[in-house]
């Protein structure tokens, strides 16, 4: 049984915030849990009271009610405190939790909005209630990357409820602005032929411009591999960057059932590969 998300967040906030801020938060949490607090009036003060710095917990995760693991690496202290407030309010009125998060997004500044978005996957009804979807859609349109990131990355809620068209646009925009698309939940489950070919187009555009290509694109491109992709990925299997070799190995493994003639090239490279992660990826690819 994974630990209660509120417990995890409480410990992380306690390690980062000032004592006076924590006392203030305890009062606000008690009011929220008793249904006494108007969170729209509480939310703006959270950053002032608890700080805006990173949680500094790169490996920390919380687990949603549906069992999805959610990374806290990008969270700030005020994000975690706002999520705790929403979890407290949800104990009082679980059916309104997602609608309340949307309302707080609408009324919030950037920090408040990020906090509301980060809460969505952890609130009651996250798996079925799309009441907060308008907030996610709004955040996909803004230029402030931090909001886009909070809406889409490490968010099972977004990946569950976004319509396919919007979800595809979100994946591409994430790649475009330099976020790791591996942070998008259900990436491979939801990837369709159109997204697969879009990411390959994006990769080619980057190559033509002599700009770096995010390696995480290769497995998505391989899902609906067009002719010639195998040869391109064999080239990336010789790339100096380990991440490119590893992603190319994974992608080639996905293509093997349809293109068995790629197999000897993988075997051949495996014999020469110095990096253990790539070797393991090749072994898994060949086993498939």
């Amino acid at each position: 049984m994974p630990p209660d998300p509120d417990r995890v967040l409480a410990d992380l906030v306690a390690a980062r915030a000032r004592p006076e801020g924590l006392t203030w938060l305890d009062g606000a949490l008690a009011d929220a849990a008793a249904g006494r607090a108007d969170l729209a009036a509480v939310f703006p003060a959270v950053s002032r009271q608890l700080g805006r710095g990173g949680l500094d917990a790169p490996g920390a995760t919380v687990t949603t009610a549906a069992g999805e693991e959610l990374s806290l690496a990008a969270w700030r202290v005020d994000d975690a405190a706002r999520v705790r407030l929403l979890l407290a309010a949800a104990r009082h009125a679980p059916d309104r939790a997602l609608a309340l998060a949307r309302e707080l997004y609408d009324k919030g500044d950037a920090r408040e909005r990020a906090g509301a978005l980060r809460a969505l996957s952890l609130l009651p009804g996250a798996a079925r209630d799309d009441a907060a979807l308008p907030a996610v859609l709004d955040a996909l349109r803004v230029t402030q990357g931090e909001l886009f990131e909070a809406a889409v990355c490490d968010s099972p809620y977004a990946s569950r409820h976004l319509p396919q068209l919007e979800w595809r646009k979100a994946v591409l925009k994430a790649a475009f602005i330099g976020l790791s698309i591996t942070r998008i939940a259900r990436l491979h489950d939801r990837c369709d032929a159109e997204l697969s070919s879009s990411v390959l187009d994006f990769a080619r555009e980057r190559e033509a411009a002599g700009r770096p290509v995010p390696p995480a694109l290769w497995p998505l491109a391989a899902r609906y591999a067009p002719p010639g992709l195998g040869a391109k990925l064999l080239g990336y299997l010789e790339h100096p960057a380990v991440e490119h070799r590893r992603a190319a190995a994974e992608a080639l493994g996905m293509m093997l059932p349809g293109e068995p003639r790629l197999r000897p090239f993988l075997v051949d490279h495996g014999a020469r590969e110095p990096d253990e992660h790539v070797v393991r990826a090749l072994r898994e690819a060949l086993a498939s």
């Binding site: 729209a40 009036a41 703006p44 003060a45 950053s47 002032r48 805006r52 990173g54 790169p58 990374s71 690496a73 990008a74 009324k107 500044d109 950037a110 920090r111 803004v142 230029t143 402030q144 990357g145 931090e146 909001l147 886009f148 990131e149 990355c153 790649a175 602005i177 330099g178 976020l179 790791s180 698309i181 942070r183 770096p212 290509v213 995010p214 390696p215 995480a216 960057a241 991440e243 490119h244």
Partner: protein
């Protein structure tokens, strides 16, 4: 030289201006809410504008390492418009609670109408209720009487003078303000209001206490570098570096720090750039970027 620009309408400027201002030493900007060139007819357009001051403008500024703050208000011109005045003031409290909001402003008189007086007074009450100072516009026409009426109103409602920044002063009005304890703002414009040379003469005559310079740059013919240019003129006019710092950095900080939301040391750090994650953390960024 570090500059705190205490009155700039960046909403009406291009992003290059942020870069130019940063190059000239501007490290923080306070953007007061004002009108948008023509009357608004819906309360909602004000709220979108307030959201832009809190979000988009802060983001644009942060890209150049500039801290962006704002003041929120129903401006004096549109205080006369019954389509919007009551609704905007009713919506203000939730904005006045926000982190980046350091004052109520611009409020004050423009044509000195009864409606302007009503909403000026109500917004001073809001400022007091939220523990915020007030940034006060004074009329371009009949300025002297406008400043007199402003000071009278502040006294009548018992608003603490040191929490009022009476702006757009000139040679005629500075004497009215000097002994009241209020902060005195001067908008340095290319043609009208006040220029660098006159400003230096004013500082020589009246001293540097509670004196604050701004460019008040907006859509009109204005220059976002006027504070830097005036600081340069001050140095040529014999002011020490410490005195220049006092006028273009410490005085505006002292005034807006009365909000309880501005800590000078926080200005030493780069502003949080929305969209910039914890850089260097490869978990967050696409590998190979």
């Amino acid at each position: 030289m570090r500059i705190f620009e205490p009155h700039a309408h960046m909403y009406s400027r291009i992003t290059d201006d942020y870069e130019q201002m940063a190059l000239a030493g501007v490290e923080a900007i306070l953007e007061p809410a004002f009108w948008l060139g023509q009357p608004r007819t819906h309360v909602g357009t004000f709220l979108d504008y307030f959201d832009a001051l809190l979000g988009w403008e802060r983001y644009r500024a942060a890209q150049y390492g500039v801290h962006h703050f704002c003041a929120i208000a129903l401006n004096p011109k549109e205080a006369n418009d019954d389509r919007v005045n009551a609704g905007v003031v009713e919506a203000m409290p939730r904005y006045l609670a926000k982190d980046g909001v350091l004052a109520v402003g611009e409020i004050g008189f423009d044509d000195m109408t009864p409606r302007e007086e009503t909403w000026f007074g109500r917004q001073l009450e809001l400022a007091r209720a939220h523990g915020l100072p007030a940034l006060i516009h004074t009329p371009h026409r009949d300025k002297k009487r406008g400043v007199e009426r402003t000071l009278d109103l502040l006294r009548d409602v018992g608003f603490p003078m040191e929490r009022a920044l009476v702006d757009h002063n000139n040679e005629e009005t500075v004497g009215l303000c000097a002994d009241t304890g209020c902060y005195m703002g001067f908008s340095i414009y290319p043609e009208t209001k006040m220029d660098e040379g006159r400003m230096v003469a004013l500082l020589q005559k009246w001293g540097t206490d509670r004196m604050i310079l701004n460019s008040a740059c907006d859509w009109g013919r204005s220059d976002p570098l006027k504070v830097a240019k005036t600081a340069l003129r001050m140095k040529r006019g014999g002011f020490s570096a410490a005195e220049v710092d006092k006028v273009v950095w410490h005085n505006p900080i002292a005034f807006f720090a009365q909000s309880g939301r501005l800590v000078e040391a926080d200005l030493d750090a780069r502003p949080v750039l929305d969209g910039e994650l914890f850089s260097g953390n490869s978990i967050l960024r696409g590998q190979g970027q």
